[in-house]
């Protein structure tokens, strides 16, 4: 619906700017309508599949180490999911207030679960090519 306003615009830069402005206005309108609790609920509902997939990817990295049982992985997935959802609420809510978003994410990082930190570190080490069958080549 928002994209339909740029249907007749020839210059792609102007079209992109118009689309951005319209999206921003629409987003701010919705966010102003909702209370904090409603915003959190709304974002949780629309983002659950995405966050679930992200949490799965993080858990997969931990699973490769063969150091955790299924039960431990399940509980880790819950804490990672909850934390990523907290971040998602900030990302979605402050989508167009970039500085505020960064500041709020920085504050939230204090609650980053250990399992997520481990998963992120392992991901970086893996990108360096230093992981062999889940073990780190020190």
């Amino acid at each position: 619906m928002i994209d339909s306003i740029i249907y007749h615009i020839q210059d792609p830069n102007i079209a992109a700017q118009m689309s951005y402005d319209a999206n921003k206005k629409c987003h701010e309108g919705v966010m102003n309508l909702l209370s904090d609790t409603q915003k959190a609920k709304y974002i949780r509902v629309i983002s659950t599949p995405e966050i679930n997939a992200k949490a799965d990817a993080k858990i997969q990295i931990l699973k490769e180490t063969n150091k955790y049982s299924e039960e431990e992985l399940n509980s880790m997935k819950i804490e990672i999911f909850e934390y990523l959802m907290l971040e998602k609420v900030v990302y979605s809510r402050d989508k167009y207030k970039v500085m505020q978003q960064k500041d709020n994410i920085r504050k939230l990082k204090q609650f980053e679960p250990k399992s997520l930190k481990e998963s992120n570190t392992r991901e970086k080490v893996k990108a360096q090519g230093k992981v062999n069958r889940g073990n780190i080549n020190w």
């Binding site: 904090d36 907290l86 609650f111 250990k114 570190t121 970086k124 360096q128 780190i136 020190w138």
Partner: protein
């Protein structure tokens, strides 16, 4: 007339009622459940958990609870004053609230108070006081206290350097899952302080610290730190012999501060020996070159490493000592305090090297680690 008397009666009853109730409202203890709920609410507002961040609201709640003598709220309030969140930064208030919370038995606050002394934030830096507070928190079972006390003991800041005691602190913290303590243990075993290098144990602690959320592990793999430590360990035996034979450590006692311009002018080559924190063992040696020239009695010292100019230092001769210049004109990474010495001393008894110029740092020098000793030999 009657009406006025009735009004007066009602007013006096109201006054008596208010006099009775106000002190109760002001000084009544807030139920524990309410304190917990308010703290949770403040925390949510402070960090924006599923709501907008509102540090001012959080500050007000903490301030209210601090008035009701809640140590947790005092600790959080002090943190807000320290970081300038929701209120203007005020180290004095931060210190006061940390102290109050610490006195009420909050070990987090004790650690934060120790950190203020450790970093010199708002108070004069005092490692000895920091150590005492960390130690107090450690004894109360706070792993951050174990890390702080261990760290200061490990590096000999404010307390006598002692690896064994430091490791005891770190072990206590590591048993409680503190990633920093585990990381320090890993460093201890990997570097092999006290000649006890144990790579397997070091790696094990690195894994543990990663598991508990330490974020530096990928740097260790990225820069092949463990490989370089292995290579260093191979050279260690020679270095250790040097120290034991006194070839290096004796020179430390020969410092004289009587260098003149003609003595210093020219090119000097030599080595920087970096000691470990105990000051007994050389961890690293590096070739360096210094080029010293004088202009209008101002010394220009150029520091080269691998034939690359790293930095310049400037100093003037005050007769008995060399004073580093901190004027804007000269302010380019000037060391805070340094000395230049000259003496005739045969280091290797071969008569080939007759002069040496050690430069000994005090506390802050951009290019040398805290326990470095520079030995420079004049090149003929």
């Amino acid at each position: 007339m009657k009406k006025t008397t009735i009004d007066k009666g009602i007013i006096s009853i109201l006054i008596i009622f208010l006099i009775g109730i106000i002190p109760n409202m002001l000084f009544a203890q807030v139920p524990v459940d309410t304190v917990g709920a308010l703290l949770r609410l403040a925390r949510k507002s402070q960090y924006g958990i599923n709501c907008e961040v509102n540090t001012k609201k959080a500050f007000k709640i903490y301030n209210y609870l601090a008035g009701k003598e809640s140590p947790n709220a005092m600790n959080e309030l002090a943190k807000m004053y320290r970081d300038g969140e929701g209120v203007k930064r005020n180290y004095e208030y931060a210190f006061g609230f940390f102290k109050q919370a610490s006195d009420l038995g909050n070990s987090f606050a004790t650690c934060n108070l120790a950190l203020m002394y450790h970093k010199g934030e708002g108070v004069k830096q005092d490692f000895a006081k920091a150590f005492l507070l960390y130690d107090k928190a450690a004894k109360a079972g706070e792993p951050r206290g174990c890390y702080g006390a261990g760290y200061l003991t490990y590096k000999g800041l404010g307390v006598t350097q002692d690896y064994t005691k430091a490791i005891e602190y770190f072990n206590i913290g590591a048993r409680k899952g503190n990633p920093d303590c585990e990381y320090m243990l890993a460093c201890y075993y990997l570097i092999g302080h006290d000649n006890k290098q144990d790579l397997a144990k070091g790696k094990e602690y690195l894994e543990k610290s990663m598991k508990h959320g330490h974020g530096w592990i990928h740097d260790i793999t990225k820069f092949n730190v463990i490989d370089s430590l292995k290579q260093n360990a191979l050279k260690d035996s020679n270095r250790w012999t040097d120290v034991k034979n006194g070839n290096v450590s004796n020179i430390k006692r020969q410092f004289l501060n009587n260098a003149t311009e003609s003595d210093l002018q020219g090119v000097w080559i030599g080595k920087v020996y970096t000691y470990d924190w105990s000051g007994n063992r050389i961890e690293k040696e590096q070739d360096v070159k210094l080029k010293i020239s004088f202009q209008n009695q101002i010394m220009d010292l150029q520091w080269f490493e691998n034939n690359n100019l790293i930095t310049n230092y400037f100093a003037e001769n005050l007769g008995k000592q060399w004073k580093p210049l901190k004027d804007k004109q000269f302010d380019r990474n000037s060391p805070t305090k340094w000395f230049i010495f000259r003496s005739r001393y045969d280091i290797d008894k071969t008569q080939k090297v007759k002069h040496y110029m050690p430069i000994f740092r005090s506390s802050i020098w951009t290019h040398m680690s805290p326990h470095s000793l520079l030995l420079l030999f004049w090149k003929k």
